[in-house]
């Protein structure tokens, strides 16, 4: 695992973070639930909680889909290529490429859901980008969520040991959890979000 230079993280007084979706995207509840699941994966292994806000002005994190140039100096490049990017703490911007074809998988964990395709699993990318929002850089461990690349049709949503060690270096473990060694069922967790 790695960190951004200077190891930025959300301050100690900010353990309950809120997120909102760019209203112009008009995302369905189904899409929003994907992000809720993605936030939950990080909440399970940290003291952080994530709650959805309807106001992008009050939210710590704003999520949006954009195409091409979208004002942050990092234009998207159309289908495939770069899929998304996110800022380091405490900026809280998560941008996804609106020109991608995104797949919403309903909770399956399978490593490869499709043969080679240009459709990208949204939850896999969301979990990765949230790692950046919390302060993690890229990892060389191929099984880690924070590995920089993913093939179309691949699904990787479970935090690896490397991801958990990295994020717990920044925030410590979940005081109500087991530190991520063996994960309790997600349904029994209370981690905020809108699910």
């Amino acid at each position: 695992y790695s960190f951004f230079p200077g190891k930025p993280r959300w301050p100690k007084r900010k353990r309950d973070l809120t997120y909102a979706f760019a209203p112009q995207n008009n995302l369905t509840d189904e899409v929003k639930r994907v992000f809720s699941r993605a936030f939950t994966r990080w909440a399970e292994v940290t003291p952080l909680n994530f709650t959805r806000s309807e106001s992008i002005l009050r939210a710590d994190i704003v999520i949006g889909f954009f195409s091409g140039e979208h004002g942050d100096g990092e234009p998207f490049d159309g289908a495939m290529g770069t899929l998304a990017h996110a800022s380091s703490p405490p900026t809280g911007m998560l941008h996804l490429d609106g020109d991608e074809d995104w797949l919403i998988s309903n909770g399956e964990i399978s490593r490869r859901i499709l043969p080679v395709t240009t459709v990208v699993d949204l939850e896999s990318v969301a979990v990765h980008e949230i790692g950046h929002l919390l302060g993690l850089g890229h990892s060389s461990v191929e099984d880690a969520i924070m590995f920089p690349a993913i093939s179309g049709g691949d699904r990787k949503v479970e935090l690896a040991k490397d991801d958990i060690e990295g994020i717990q270096h920044l925030y410590g473990g979940n005081p109500n959890g087991d530190g991520g060694g063996s994960k309790p069922s997600r349904e029994s967790q209370s981690t905020g979000g809108d699910s």
């Binding site: 998207f76 899929l83 990017h85 395709t117 240009t118 459709v119 990318v125 060389s140 920089p148």
Partner: protein, 122 residues
């Protein structure tokens, strides 16, 4: 566009699976230092975008020391055999879709180097 299940994906998405802005890099296989090949400037822009090249100015089509150094670091970060060459396994990795955040910031990479340091500390 969002697909809510696998069966809703049209067959065209499978046929177009290799179409990607970076797929043209595949034709650079086998290039080596000292050569001038059309397309290497685009590859240098790719490496600059992800932090592997920090020099400013126009990218040329020369396979120079700067590009070789970028390839070396990239191969190390992606657990590839460090050859400094555009071999097929390196190019297969380069063309994969990826996160837009750079791997190196200010020319510093902890992707693999950091792991070695932490192991030593333990």
């Amino acid at each position: 566009k969002f697909y809510t299940n696998v069966s809703s994906i049209p067959p065209l998405q499978f046929l177009n699976a290799t179409q990607n802005a970076w797929e043209t890099f595949s034709k650079l296989a086998g290039c080596h230092i000292g050569e001038n090949i059309n397309g290497l400037s685009k590859l240098k822009q790719y490496f600059r975008r992800f932090g592997y090249i920090t020099t400013t100015g126009n990218c040329t089509d020369d396979f120079d020391d700067v590009l070789q150094s970028a390839i070396n670091t990239y191969q190390k970060n992606f657990n590839l055999k460090v050859t400094g060459k555009l071999d097929s396994s390196t190019l297969r990795q380069i063309v994969k879709p990826r996160c837009g955040n750079p791997d190196l910031i200010d020319g510093v990479s902890e992707m693999n180097g950091g792991k070695i340091l932490r192991t030593t500390e333990k």
